[in-house]
């Protein structure tokens, strides 16, 4: 079932990207999709964690919020870059987290890295190491709005 959905999704993606509809090209596309799915099957024997993520409305809500946060962080970082006295205070700190599922922790660490001004360097069982461009960025992470939003997600 998993591989069936994967095949269909990959093929739709291929058609979308190619935009050619002759028999030869569609056939070649199908062949390459099958090859990829076969590779994936072989790889899953090692990884063993193939799973679907439930795509919930909450996830889109989170991405919307994340994009807003990213825009705000961008403006802040750009201001600091152009300010003549370069008002930064880099810090590398340990950030405790109560998120414990691998998927959510991945989302959290990647969201932190995506936001300019904060950057995950290491992920451990119950904490992350983050590098922040300013002390304020670190304080904002500790305030935990992003973490709270991820914990509320139904993944």
């Amino acid at each position: 079932m998993y591989y069936l959905v994967l095949t269909v999704a990959l093929y739709l993606f291929w058609v979308l990207l190619s935009g050619h509809y002759t028999a030869l090209l569609l056939g070649l596309g199908a062949a390459s999709v099958l090859l990829v799915v076969w590779f994936l099957r072989r790889m899953d024997r090692v990884d063993g964690e193939a799973s679907f993520t439930r795509i919930s409305p909450g996830l889109f809500g989170y991405f919307g919020w994340l994009m807003m946060a990213v825009v705000k962080a961008n403006i802040d970082v750009v201001k600091r870059i152009w300010a003549p006295n370069l008002p930064i205070s880099p810090t590398w700190t340990r950030l405790e987290t109560e998120i414990n599922t691998p998927l959510k922790k991945t989302l959290y660490a990647n969201s932190i890295t995506l936001t300019p001004g904060t950057l995950t360097t290491n992920a451990r069982r119950d904490h992350l190491w983050v590098h922040c461009l300013t002390q304020d960025n670190a304080k904002e992470l500790r305030a935990g709005e992003m973490e709270g939003r991820i914990r509320k997600l139904n993944l």
Partner: protein, 130 residues
């Protein structure tokens, strides 16, 4: 209508270009590797999407719009991965972030509070020196 789209598109393109330049300026101005990474993420997380958005408005509604949207999504999805890989490599190489209360002060000894594991590995002798 097309005039509005044109103006909107150029606003996106120009502000995207400005953000990319800002990223470059940040790369030059910021003091160490780790803070420079923050500057480069400005280019990727807002500069690129704005430019892609501007191009999208120029092409109008077609299959290319969806392709551009996907390019944007992939850039956003791969940015954290690439950034993280780079930072990890730097840590493995023994770089430590410049920590400061004011940006003038020299790096403090970084890891009194028990830093990440990579630091222990760094105590090994440099293979290139043997």
């Amino acid at each position: 209508m097309s005039m509005v789209l044109e103006i909107l598109s150029w606003i996106c393109l120009i502000s995207g270009g400005f953000l990319c330049i800002s990223g470059g300026v940040g790369l030059l101005r910021l003091p160490d590797f780790f803070s420079r990474v923050h500057a480069s993420s400005v280019t990727e997380t807002l500069g690129t999407p704005l430019i892609l958005g501007g191009v999208m408005l120029q092409t109008g509604w077609s299959l290319d719009t969806i392709k551009l949207l996907m390019v944007g999504m992939f850039v956003l999805a791969t940015n954290p991965t690439a950034t993280h890989a780079m930072v990890k490599a730097a840590l493995h190489d023994g770089q430590t972030p410049l920590e400061s209360n004011d940006s003038e002060s020299k790096a403090t000894p970084p890891l009194e509070n028990g830093g990440p594991k990579e630091e222990e590995a760094n105590q090994e002798e440099d293979p290139s020196s043997s």
